[in-house]
Amino acid sequence: MAEKTIRRVAVGFGGDERSLDALALGIALARSAGARLDLILVIRQDSAFKQEYPPVGSVVGIIAEQAQQWIAEAEAVIPPEIRHHSHIRPAGSIAEGLVSAVQELDSDVLVTGSGIGFGRIMTHPAVTALLHSSPVPVALAPAGYRANTQITDVMAAVSAAHPDHQVTRSGESWAGQLGAALTFVTFEDKESGPARHDAGKGPDADAGTASAEPIKHILATGRTLRHAVGTVDWPQGGILLIGSSPLARRRHIFLGMTAARVLSHLPIPMVLLPRDPDTSAPAAR
């Protein structure tokens, strides 16, 4: 398999409402994949070029103490059967700290809150930065997401033009590991022209998925992407996998235009996948 197995789920945690959404999604993913959960709280340190005046000394200690409380509250929510570990670490920015943490911990997916799902993407600069630089898949929990015990459905967004995209393979791999049903979704808006894709001939995938039935393929069309997203009956326990823009550096993620527009109206979590190291090569089986 070219796809990595999900062994370590990292949650970027901050003690706010959106962080609770992220924690809920992290728990659901870790439970479904049988993975270990890492809570990461990054404490931002001032750069030397941000000098307060008159000098007050370092407030990092006070914030770290507060952070321990937030972490303790979060740990109280995690069900006992899920292995977990918490990390508080300093960094120049939240995104920078999360990226270095997931690299060091060898995490397979990074979960953050986002406030998505109500026609807007949250404005937190850390999330924006992550969506354009993370080296591992980033899972965004919509606002108000609360733990559904299991991930029941993996929806993979595949493009009509490139049916053999890496998302196809990743979808199979994720569905297999999470024990969830796989569905392909193709978004099309009228503005980008008529669909050239025949929904009946979706990417074939039969090896190793949870379901023996042929994979469902939904063609979501609408006047705009927003309407297209609205036509789909998103399952409660679903997550949507979506690929990075071709602008992404290899092995990094970069939120594309379509993904961004889908994201802002999506009621279920979205997982943005990094660009495959060699997208042209066929999947190694």
Partner: protein, 508 residues
């Protein structure tokens, strides 16, 4: 099998510390840029040159050079305390530790009052230059006059402060590049101003060409000790900010020379800049009370607003932009300080726990930030309504407050290190002699200024019932402080009862 539940707290690399980047990795130039940016020379000169000229006349250069000495002596002690107790609180923590909670509380109150005063002054100067810049760009002179319209002035000022508070709450940062650009711009424009002034003097087109005299540099030529104290108190404000270079983190790549070198470089840059600009202004305008004279009370509280036009001609717009950007940047960096001071006080139980609240989303002291900006805004609005010289009066009171809390801090240093100050000659000088002399000097200037400010003619001449407004303001600040302290003692007696100890924070 369960992992251990304990939270893993990562210790950063040796060279990252409280400020993320250490001075060693910034380099001397970066440190100078930070120092100059904190001093904000364009704003400071515009706000303080007039009041200082009013106190000491043409001995401005003398006061600017001599005024630096007590500042330097105190800063040496500050640096020692910062090494010993680097966690949040500074004056509050240090004075509480050395002299107990009561003096610590009042010292901190002095610092808070100074920051609130400077916030309102910064925003006030920014408002003047905001409308001046718009009028210079559009060529409509009447726009510059909008700043004299009290409701418009007050609303604009409150908007500026709210914006600064929002930036501070969001924890946004000025990047290195922006900082370098802003500082270079300020320095260039100020030099331009000085050169343009000298050229007009030699071309005979200056307003009141005054021949240069070495007597300007003679501090003993100042008419009275009162005038001298007033001048020094103001020059303490003028250099306020420089000491940031000394307190920056030093543990870095084995270098111990960089902070010292950066501090000396910053001093040289700032003192030369101040001297050149002051000489330019003096030779061009003199100290008479004529239209553009530095002795004219109408222009004294914001001299560049009045002088930039006649000196620089159409390029005066650059001066407006320099002062505007410098006060906007300072507004932002000053907003953080009272909020974090109150955060530390809340943490140690000297204020309500609410002040210790940290916003989880931005990791900033949200409650304390709001309180700071509301107090500063209310203060500005009241002052703008009762005084016509609000900027001048706040600067004078500010000088007084800085002398007070610096004095307390310096003496806290002496007392805290009294046991170990005799270990070596260097320790004796840095931990005892320098802060002792500096602290006593500043407290002398503090008391002298209080005494003199009772005179209704003091400073800008604002008065209420025959008593100088600066004196009333100063007394009001201290009585409010004492009242607030007793209120805290009533509500939260534990802080005042136990011996003050700094918290052992999780090491990050």
């Amino acid at each position: 099998m369960r992992e251990p539940r304990s939270t893993d707290i990562q210790t950063p690399d040796r060279h990252t510390h409280s400020k993320g980047l250490s001075i060693g990795s910034i380099g001397a130039l970066g440190a100078v840029v930070i120092g100059v940016s904190t001093i904000a020379p364009a704003y400071t000169l515009s706000g303080a040159l007039g009041p200082t000229a009013s106190a000491v006349g043409d001995h401005l250069p003398a006061v600017l050079i001599v005024g630096f000495i007590p500042m330097l002596l105190v800063a040496l002690g500050y640096r020692q305390l910062n090494r010993a107790m680097p966690d949040a609180g500074t004056t509050f923590t240090w004075a509480s530790k050395a002299f107990g909670p009561w003096i610590g509380w009042m010292g901190s109150w002095g610092l808070l009052a100074a920051t609130i005063l400077v916030l309102s002054n910064l925003a006030g100067i920014a408002v003047d230059f905001f409308y001046l810049a718009i009028s210079q760009i559009t060529g409509v002179d009447s726009i510059a006059e909008l700043t004299r319209n009290v409701p418009i002035n007050v609303i604009t000022c409150v908007i500026f402060m709210a914006a600064a508070a929002y930036v501070s709450y969001r924890g946004m940062e000025t990047t290195k590049t922006v900082q370098y650009v802003l500082v270079s711009f300020q320095v260039l424009v100020l030099l331009w101003f000085a050169v343009a002034a000298f050229r007009q003097v030699s071309a005979g087109s200056a307003f009141d060409a005054t021949a240069f005299s070495w007597e300007w540099f003679n501090p003993f030529g100042i008419e009275s000790f009162s005038a001298f104290s007033a001048g020094i108190a103001l020059s303490v404000f003028i250099y306020w900010g420089w000491d940031v270079v000394l307190t920056m983190n030093e543990e870095s790549r084995g270098t111990t020379t960089t902070p010292g070198r950066a501090a000396i470089l910053t001093i040289l840059v700032v003192v030369s800049l101040y001297t050149i600009v002051t000489l330019g202004a003096l030779t061009f305008a003199g100290v008479s009370d004529g239209e553009f004279g530095l002795g004219n009370p109408d222009i004294q509280e914001n001299v560049f607003a009045a002088l930039a036009g006649p000196v620089m001609g159409p390029m005066a717009i650059l001066m407006s932009l320099a002062v505007l950007s410098s006060s906007a940047a300072s507004l932002q960096s000053t907003m953080i300080s009272p909020a974090r001071t109150m955060l530390a006080m809340g943490h140690y139980g000297a204020l309500n726990r609410k002040y210790a609240q940290v916003s989880p989303r931005y990791q900033t002291p949200a409650y304390a930030t709001v309180v700071a900006v509301v107090i500063a805004s209310v203060f500005y609005v009241v002052m703008r309504i009762i005084s016509e010289n609000v900027l001048w009066d706040t600067i004078t009171t500010l000088g007084m407050m800085v002398c007070f809390y610096y004095g307390i801090t310096a003496l806290a240093c002496v007392w805290y290190f009294r046991g170990e100050a005799t270990a070596s000659a260097g320790d004796f000088f840095n931990k005892l002699l320098a802060p002792l002399v500096g602290g006593i000097l500043l407290l002398i200037f503090f008391f002298q200024t209080i005494w003199d400010s009772m005179d209704p003619d003091y400073g800008s001449g604002s008065e209420i019932g025959g008593v100088g407004l600066v004196f009333i303001l100063g007394m009001l600040v201290f009585s409010l402080g004492i009242a607030a302290m007793f209120w805290q003692h009533h509500k939260r007696p534990e802080f005042f009862r136990r011996r003050f100890e700094t918290t052992e924070f999780p090491t990050l």
